[in-house]
Symmetry: C2
């Protein structure tokens, strides 16, 4: 096992009738900004719940945060928060709203000039407004970590930052509210969480059997519960299991003491930037290519994954590895998530554009053991035409 | 899945060369009390490391904290801490030292009279001295939770309390320091962690597959790594895996959203009180009895445990349940931990004394679904003669 540090102070409130705790969770003297997206929280009861349990509080609203939230939209919230002297941010919705809220929390007190530097130049986030969230969509895990991903339309960038100051103070997880999600978003959530686990698991062995088993536990649960939720998002028990799996997938537990490799995400982000494809779908496109190209380098964990998650025990190493990739693709496709460029009408020229963006960011060697060179990025995408 | 709240702000520093971070972790202006036990930290390098990395700090020492730490000894530390105006407690050693330190942290600022009330009358702990620890013995999990167990010699009591104020600010986990432990303590640690998982897992199904799988993951890792560490405590990799398993066994992750049943601990504590038997050994004695007596009530999880952990898939329900109990006993015994009264020369009269203590505490119906009546306690122990 590698040495590690683990710290996660997010308070989780999970299940039914959790919104009524809002009143005691947010100090009375706070000026609150309620942030949300396209208005789904007005249909699933969360908006009314917030109004009810925070009645009499000083609250302003900021809505319209997009999927793949943008710097441009977030900066509108930053201006408003400064003008209105907001000192508590409450995000309600899915990962996009929470990610934007984390960036806004960091940007409001930011003293280094343009807050874009936090994303582009990894400028240090020394302080942030306190924030919390109400989660209605299981997927990204942002509700229990200090990470955020924000896009900038004007420059075709999709970048991440992390800072302890943007850990949510608390996150209210509501499987019931997620029950009204469209199938498409449920499928995205399952695949997003699945690939989050993979990026912290499918690298190379370091003798960390507990971390491996927990990662496999999340994968198995997603494979078991995902199709149930996809068939019926209102199945409370299955949605609850999916939601907790997605949170556990990215709260730091499974990465403690093991290597990580976020290169599937790195490449996937570019496909979203250029073609607006849902984040999870870009991961489903890129992952099989990454495994094909780095099959040899990732063989030990790929075979372990095949055996422990898909029960693949027969055939040569190569046959078993191929079978593991195949089963993964089948699983994604069973949730209506396609895995090839042609399925999304992505032209082959996109490959050049992605490689150029990697070059621009000087990402010459990403991934675990720096395996993902520009050449690997190209081959991974060529595999997915 | 049941509704739940999860909160655990303990910072974990795990692995080699972690002690050098002490200087930045403890504020410079603190008057520190270093608490330890019989002096093992002077042999495993931890004492010297603390002195080196906290050189120049205002530190006083308090040593001699016993296994099954006592109220009596802890109160000596409370007096000293008050007199010396200590404002930071640093425990170094195993679970006993950390548990005592938690009680001392709560007792120093306690304004309600005798701090024993915290244990006996569940008096509220509103504040506590900040505390942290350096763990050199994998077992209890106290390094990453807010629980503490303290005994009182004069009254034959062994009682627990919990309070958010006694979460350690940080815990430094040192597998290397644990490498010099005697086999006996390693075996105790494996069994202690094992039964911690069982108490949060082997109740009744609530459709929480991820929690179940993670619990099973810890059990499987203990079964795999435990014998390696028992054979050679200096096997760093195996010790690291044991240490992280023991921490994960009781940091709140596996109990989130599921029922618990701490009645094996409740009964085991009495055997320690009356006969001074190591905590883990009392659990190994009591657990098989609990399963024999409540085999029917716990059948679903007992069969699941047998299948997932011991791969028991053949035979009638009763045969498989019996086999699961048998395999567990064999595992304990393979670590040199005996499981019957006769192995420890415990007289049959102890059964009456335990039941009387349960009566005195008005513990008439403990365990999940209140299954553990005084009659069940008696039968459980009769099973272990």
């Amino acid at each position: 096992m590698n040495d590690f540090e683990f710290y996660n102070p997010v308070r989780i409130l999970f299940g039914k009738e959790q919104l009524e705790k809002l009143d005691e969770l947010i100090p009375r003297n706070k000026k609150i900004m309620l942030l949300y997206g396209g208005g789904s929280i007005k249909r699933n009861g969360v908006y009314d719940g917030v109004k009810k349990y925070l009645a009499g509080r000083d609250i302003i609203e900021f809505s319209g945060i997009e999927p793949n939230p943008t710097y441009e939209k977030s900066m509108e919230a930053v201006e408003l928060a400064k003008k209105e002297k907001v000192d508590f941010l409450l995000a309600a919705g899915g990962g996009s709203v929470i990610d934007a809220t984390k960036f806004i929390a960091a940007a409001v007190p930011y003293k280094g000039g343009d807050p874009w530097d936090i994303l582009e130049k990894e400028a240090e986030v020394e302080e942030a407004l306190p924030l919390a969230d109400i989660l209605t969509l299981p997927a990204t895990g942002t509700e229990m970590n200090m990470n955020s991903v924000v896009s900038r339309k004007s420059t075709n960038d999709k970048l991440a930052f992390k800072a302890p100051a943007v850990f949510p103070q608390f996150s209210v997880l509501l499987p019931e509210a997620a029950g009204s999600l469209p199938q498409r978003q449920v499928a995205n959530g399952v695949v997003d969480a699945f690939v989050h686990v993979i990026e912290q698991y499918l690298t190379y062995p370091v003798n960390a059997p507990l971390q491996d088993r927990i990662a496999e536990s999340i994968l198995l649960t997603l494979i078991e519960e995902g199709p149930k939720v996809y068939a019926d998002p209102a199945d409370y028990d299955a949605m609850a299991n999916l939601m907790w799996s997605a949170t556990m997938a990215l709260n730091g537990v499974i990465k403690a003491g093991v290597p990580e490799d976020w290169s599937v995400h790195g490449i996937g982000h570019e496909l979203t930037v250029f073609h607006g494809i849902d984040h999870a779908r870009t991961l489903a496109i890129v992952l099989p290519g990454m495994w094909h190209v780095l099959k040899e380098e990732k063989k030990e964990k790929l075979l372990q994954y095949g055996e422990k998650v898909w029960n693949i025990t027969e055939g040569s190493d190569d046959e078993r590895a191929e079978k593991a990739i195949e089963k993964t693709v089948e699983f994604f496709e069973s949730l209506g998530i396609k895995t090839r460029f042609s399925d999304y009408n992505i032209p082959a020229e996109t490959i050049d554009r992605v490689v150029k963006n990697f070059e621009k960011r000087e990402w010459f060697e990403t991934g675990d053991r720096k395996l993902v060179t520009l050449d690997v990025v190209r081959k991974v995408l060529e595999d997915r035409l």
